[in-house]
């Protein structure tokens, strides 16, 4: 799909779990081929131990995005060749 292009300051590729939207179902944790997503020890305001990026290992494959049932909970950032 035509994806939005933005300027970022972190290392690419990467992913982000929008913690306050995560319901802790764990499907991204299960399906990430790189096993680079984990559960947080913290509860979010919905009362779930949300998923979070371990900080390294993401290949930008997008599998977590498609396995996540919550429309806005996961963002995947891929490198754009300049």
């Amino acid at each position: 799909m035509p994806q939005e292009i933005i300027e970022v300051a972190f290392e690419l590729p990467s992913m982000e779990v929008v913690s306050y939207l995560c319901k802790g179902c764990g499907l991204c944790v299960t399906h990430c081929p790189q096993k680079c997503i984990e559960f947080s020890d913290q509860f979010n305001e919905l009362g779930y131990k949300y998923a979070q990026y371990k900080g390294e290992g993401c290949t930008g494959c997008g599998i977590c995005f498609y396995c996540c049932p919550e429309p806005g909970a996961i963002k995947v950032y891929k490198k754009v060749r300049e």
């Binding site: 319901k23 764990g26 499907l27 299960t30 599998i63 806005g72």
Partner: protein, 479 residues
Amino acid sequence: MKASVLQKPKAFYDKFERKGGSQLETTHYCPGCGHGILHKLIAEALADFDMADRTILISPVGCSVFAYYYFDTGNIQVAHGRAPAVATGLKRVHHNGIVISYQGDGDLAAIGGDEILQAANRGENITVFFVNNAIYGMTGGQMAPTTLVGQKTTTSPYGRKPENEGYPIRMSEIIATLEAPVYVERTALIDFKTINRTKRAVRKALQNQIENKGFSFIEVLSPCPTGWKMTPPDSQKWIEQNMIPYFPLKVFKDISDSATPFTYTDRTYSDSEVLNILGLSQLGERKKVDQSFLENFPTQNMKIAGFGGQGVLSAGVVMAACAMNENLEVSWIPSYGPEMRGGTANCSVILSHHRIGSPLTTNPNVLIVMNTPSLDAFEDDVVKDGLIIVNSSIVDREVKRKDVDVIYIPLTEIASRLGVVAAANMVCLGAYLEYTKIMDYKLLYDTIPIALKKKSLIDLNIKAVDEGVKYIREHYPRS
């Protein structure tokens, strides 16, 4: 560094108003629910095709009932199981629209089983997404038509038994046997491979509609961790181990490439054509409101009763239409058995200056009885000082009540002298209006041509009205 972002598709609303408060971005779905994944795939496809503004999404009854809170498309939520029927109407009117019927297994395979089969069989140019989670999720996990043999639900606590509840229905297989559907596939939402397969199926099903190819049906095996009492990852495994062996994932039918595209022609009707179709071409301008007539009009709670075929119902229609022409509020409700002739029939008619609440007249102030059983049935219901008009040709007894006004008139005899027994009802209306003077009886002349289907009988019916008036003038003169 520049990054491309894979994120919430634009065909979703920015905010989801369903839950309010601080939860304006989450769905109402349980953790791990397949609906969210399928929603995402559909929204992404609509955004990529730039079709969201042309899409009408129909939400069912079930967990996905609130889909209209999420999709930034046209949305309609419909009665249980009726989405394909509503989709049919929508698509036929808005054939440039992309009409999506989104349904669960209770909705589609149980209560809406026939709607989906008929829509598929007609080959409606719509896209149906069928979310099969083998359970009634929203109502708390009852057995659905697709519940597996042995599967425990709240209504099959020892597991579904075929000898008692039958076998799970395979909807895709059934629909694929029909001639008309162009694309039928079953997919699942259990891992990236199946989700990706579903993504392609969703796109193809929508593309078929965009190209007017016809009916596409995608069944999606979807986890219900709450209903199945499992963790989300376990429920995906459960689909793989238990559902897929019974509900195999495959393309059951695909004639998309050879299907002849629909061609639509825009057909509009002018006002005069519509009036003509309705038989209202003679209808004149709306009459000017006569305020003093309206304000002095005594509300008529009428019950007209007799045998079917005596014109009981049409007498009510003519009376109501006549009063409507005079700007009164009116209602008409028929009540009859399955017989076209010979059964009993009655109708409630209310004519009033005031707005009408219930259209039923349980205590009429005007009772017209065309036969004896009707007098027996309704005599006691008439209010004190009410009026009873008795067809004395047929009714073989007198009215017992002493506190009501009674007119005896041989309606059937008078009508039969005119040559048509069925005109007794118009004799009666003439008599009724002449006796009560609530309206000029000549106003019926304008209404009869509108209400009467057989135009050759108009003159005769007008004559029948005059005969009723004449009888009242001779036998019940008002000094």
